[in-house]
C-alpha cells in the first residue's frame, strides 16, 4: 500500500466579500444571515463563504456549482488574482497570501498556471508565441523557450499549427493552445476555470479524454471548475459542490451519488448520467469458481459440478486471467485426454477496474460470458455480468 498522498494545496476558511460595507456584512454573517439577505441589507456580495478543502498531489479536484456560486473567485484566490478577505491558501506548506510581490510572481511563473474559459489567448502572437509566453517573461532565451513550447504544442496535437494566428483555429484547438501554454511553465498545478464550457459537446468529450491522458502522462495536480456534473464525475478524483459561496460537500463521485449531503447536491446528481459515475469495480462480483491452468480436466470438472456452473474462469498461478473453460470442453478434455490449456477459450473480453460503465456497455452487450475485470498486471479481480451493467444504471 502506498502511504497517504501528499497534500499539495490547502485552502483554509477562505472568505471573499465584494463591496464597501464589509464589516456590517461580517456581523450579519455571524448572525447566520444568508447571501441574498446580506446583499440586500449591506450591498456586499459574499462570493466565497468559509471554504476549506485540500488537493492531493497528482489528483484532479473538481469544483462544481451553479453560476455565481463563487467557483471562479475561489480559483482566483489561489494565485491571488483576487485578494481573499480572510482565510489562507497554503501551497507546498507556503502561505501564498504572505508572499512578497516578487515571490508571488515567482509562484505564478513556476507553481500554478491557469487555463481560461474563453482561452485568454493573445491575438497579436502566433500559437508558438502564445505558448512560449510564460517562459518569455521569465527571461528564458528564445531558442530554449521555443523548443520547450514546441514540445507542448506537439503534446496537445497541434504540430504544424505553431505559426498560425490563434484566431484562425477552432475553439477546441484554441483551448489546446491554452493548455499547452499552461504546461510549458511546467507548473505543479493547473488551475482550470471552465476550460471546456465554451466548446461544443463533441469537442468537449475529446478534450476531456485528452486532459486525462495528459494528466496521466505528466502527473499534474489539477483544480478544475465546471458547472457540468458529467464532466465533474468523469474528471474528478475529488469533487466539491458549491452553493452561494459555501462548499456544501466534498467527496468522490461514488460517495456523492450514494450519499448526497442535501437536496441541492441530490438535484445536481440526478442530472448526472450514472453510467459515468460507476466503474466496473463497483458492479463486479467475485466468480464462484476458478480453475487453475495447471489443474487437470478431472479437477476442473469437479469444481464446475460442485458450483453448479456451465463454465469457469481460468487463471494461472499468479492469478493472471487466461480465459474461460466450458463444461463441454472440460468433458471433452477428460474423454479425449487433452490438457485444459489446449481447450481454454482465450478471446474473452476483459475490462479494467476503473473503466466506466458507460464505456464497457458495448462489450457487455456482445459478450457470451460475463466480462472479466482485470488489473494493470492482468490479474483477475472479478466479473461483471450483463445484468449487473444494466441494473447499475437504472
Amino acid at each position: 500500500m502506498p502511504s497517504k498522498a501528499e497534500v499539495l494545496l490547502k485552502v483554509n476558511n477562505l472568505y471573499k466579500l465584494y463591496g464597501v460595507n464589509r464589516q456590517a456584512a461580517r456581523d450579519l454573517m455571524k448572525k447566520g444571515a444568508d447571501k441574498s439577505e446580506i446583499l440586500k441589507q449591506t450591498g456586499v456580495t459574499v462570493a466565497v463563504n468559509n471554504v476549506s478543502f485540500e488537493v492531493e498531489r497528482g489528483k484532479i479536484f473538481v469544483l462544481i456549482g451553479l453560476s455565481g456560486s463563487g467557483k471562479s473567485t475561489v480559483i482566483r484566490c489561489i494565485n491571488m488574482l483576487q485578494q481573499p478577505s480572510s482565510g489562507s491558501v497554503i501551497f507546498e506548506n507556503q502561505d501564498i497570501g504572505k508572499l512578497s510581490r516578487k515571490e508571488l510572481l515567482e509562484f505564478r511563473r513556476t507553481k500554478a498556471s491557469m487555463v481560461f474559459q474563453n482561452f485568454g489567448l493573445m491575438s497579436h502572437r502566433d500559437v508558438l508565441g502564445n505558448v512560449a509566453y510564460g517562459l518569455e517573461i521569465r527571461g528564458v532565451k528564445r531558442e530554449e523557450r521555443e523548443y520547450k513550447a514546441m514540445e507542448m504544442i506537439k503534446m496537445v496535437g497541434l504540430e504544424g499549427w505553431e505559426h498560425q494566428n490563434p484566431s484562425s483555429l477552432s475553439g477546441g484547438m484554441r483551448q489546446r493552445v491554452g493548455i499547452a501554454r499552461a504546461l510549458t511553465n511546467d507548473p505543479e498545478m493547473l488551475l482550470m476555470d471552465e476550460p471546456f464550457s465554451a466548446l461544443d459537446p463533441l469537442v468537449r468529450r475529446d478534450m476531456q479524454f485528452e486532459l486525462l491522458s495528459i494528466q496521466r502522462k505528466m502527473n499534474k495536480t489539477i483544480l478544475f471548475i465546471t458547472h457540468d456534473i458529467d464532466e465533474a464525475f468523469m474528471l474528478g478524483d475529488m469533487i466539491g459542490i458549491m452553493r452561494d459561496g459555501k462548499l456544501i460537500q466534498v467527496g468522490t463521485a461514488e460517495e456523492m451519488t450514494s450519499n448526497p449531503a442535501d437536496d441541492y447536491v441530490r438535484d445536481f446528481i440526478v442530472s448526472a448520467d450514472k453510467s459515468r459515475v460507476f466503474c466496473a469495480k463497483h458492479v463486479m462480483i467475485t466468480p464462484s469458481s476458478l480453475i487453475r491452468l495447471s489443474d487437470g480436466s478431472g479437477k476442473a470438472l469437479s469444481i464446475m459440478k460442485r458450483n453448479g456452473v456451465s463454465s469457469s474462469y481460468v487463471i494461472d498461478d499468479k492469478m493472471t486471467f487466461i480465459g474461460v473453460l466450458t463444461l463441454e470442453d472440460a468433458m471433452k478434455a477428460r474423454s479425449e485426454n487433452l490438457s485444459v490449456e489446449s481447450l481454454v477459450i482465450r478471446d474473452v473480453e476483459t475490462v479494467k477496474e476503473d473503466d466506466l460503465i458507460a464505456d464497457i456497455m458495448p462489450q457487455a452487450a456482445r459478450t457470451r460470458f460475463p466480462l472479466a475485470v482485470v488489473d494493470e498486471e492482468g490479474r483477475l479481480k472479478g466479473i461483471v455480468s450483463k445484468a449487473a451493467v444494466l441494473s447499475s444504471i437504472s
Binding site: L81, L121, M122, H124, G134, I137
Partner: protein, 300 residues
C-alpha cells in the same frame, strides 16, 4: 423705468484685462529662463526636422510616397495618383512652402505623441489620472482652435515655435483618448492571463496591452496628424510660415488664385498623410481583425 434695466449698469465693473496683462508680464519676466529654454528646444527640434526634410531631394519624396502607397494600399493606380498630386504641388511653385508646413506638422505630431501616448496609458491605468485628464480633454474639444493661439502668443510671441505649441495642444487629445480607449478595451481575460502567468505590470503593458491596443492607437496617430494639419492655416495667423501663410496672404490681398493653390496643397497633403497612416498598421491575422478586436468569440 430706470435706465439700468435696459442698459447694462456701468457701476458693475470688473477689470480683468490689466491683471491678466500684468500676470503675463510677471510670468514672462520671472519665468524667462523656462520659456527661453522651451523656445530654444523647440526651435532646435524644428530646425532638425527642417534640415532632414531639406536634404531629401524632391524626387525621393515623390518616389517614397509612390512606394509606400503601393505597399500599404496595394493599389498601384492610387500610388501613381498620389505621386502626381505631389508633383502638382511642386509645379504650382509651392514645394518649399509645403516643406515648411510639413516640418511644423511633423514636429507637432512628434511632440503630441511623445506627450500624449504616456498620458493615454496613465489615463487607462488609473482612476485618478482619468478623473483629472478627461474633463480637460472634454473642455479642449469644445474650444475653437483660435483659442490655442492665445497662450502660445502670449508666452512665446510670434513665429513657428508658438505655432508648434498651439498645434501640439490642439492635436494631442485624439492620441490620449484612443490610446487609453484601446488599452481599456483589451479583453479582460487576456490581461488576466498575462497576470496569471506572472507578468509584471510593465511586462503586461509592453507585451500584451499595447500590442493588443495597437490598431486603436494607430487610429489615434492618424487623427492626431489630421488635427495638426487642420491647424496649418490657423497657425499662420501667429506667424507660422508655409502653405498656411500663403492662404492668409491670398485672402488678405484678394488674390484668390494664390490662396486656392495653397489651400488645395494642404488638402493634398492631408489626403496623402491620411491614407498612408491608415494603411501602415496591419495586424497579423488579416481578415480576422474585427474578430480579434472583440477578443475572440465570446462564450458561444
Amino acid at each position: 423705468m430706470p435706465d439700468w434695466l435696459y442698459n447694462f449698469p456701468e457701476t458693475i465693473k470688473l477689470n480683468i484685462r490689466e491683471p491678466i496683462d500684468e500676470f503675463i508680464s510677471y510670468i514672462n519676466v520671472n519665468w524667462e529662463g523656462f520659456f527661453d529654454a522651451v523656445t530654444k528646444g523647440l526651435r532646435g527640434m524644428l530646425k532638425g526636422v527642417n534640415w532632414f526634410i531639406g536634404i531629401i531631394p524632391w524626387w525621393v519624396l515623390v518616389l517614397a510616397v509612390f512606394i509606400l502607397t503601393w505597399i500599404t494600399t496595394k493599389k498601384p493606380l492610387r500610388a501613381v495618383l498620389y505621386s502626381l498630386l505631389l508633383i502638382f504641388i511642386g509645379s504650382m511653385g509651392l514645394w518649399s512652402y509645403m516643406e515648411q508646413t510639413l516640418a511644423i506638422v511633423i514636429t507637432s505630431v512628434i511632440l503630441s505623441l511623445v506627450i500624449g501616448f504616456p498620458l493615454g496609458i496613465l489615463v487607462a491605468s488609473g482612476k485618478k489620472a482619468d478623473a483629472i485628464i478627461r474633463p480637460v480633454l472634454d473642455t479642449m474639444q469644445t474650444m475653437p482652435s483660435f483659442v490655442y493661439l492665445i497662450p502660445a502668443v502670449m508666452l512665446l510671441g510670434l513665429g513657428n515655435v508658438p505655432a508648434v505649441i498651439a498645434t501640439t495642444i490642439y492635436a494631442i487629445p485624439p492620441i490620449i483618448r484612443l490610446t487609453s480607449h484601446g488599452i481599456k478595451q483589451v479583453d479582460a481575460e487576456v490581461v488576466e492571463a498575462a497576470h496569471a502567468f506572472g507578468s509584471t505590470r510593465w511586462q503586461t503593458l509592453i507585451k500584451v496591452q499595447i500590442p493588443q491596443a495597437m490598431p486603436t492607437i494607430m487610429t489615434g496617430v492618424n487623427q492626431t496628424i489630421m488635427m495638426a494639419l487642420a491647424m496649418v492655416v490657423t497657425c499662420s495667423m501667429i506667424g507660422a510660415t508655409g502653405l498656411g501663410s500663403e492662404v492668409i496672404i491670398g485672402i488678405n490681398r484678394l488674390e484668390i488664385g494664390r490662396g486656392f493653390a495653397a489651400g488645395i496643397s494642404v488638402v493634398i497633403m492631408a489626403v496623402i498623410l491620411d491614407r498612408l497612416t491608415q494603411g501602415i498598421y496591419k495586424p497579423k491575422g488579416g481578415d480576422l481583425v474585427a474578430e480579434q478586436s472583440r477578443g475572440f468569440i465570446k462564450g458561444k
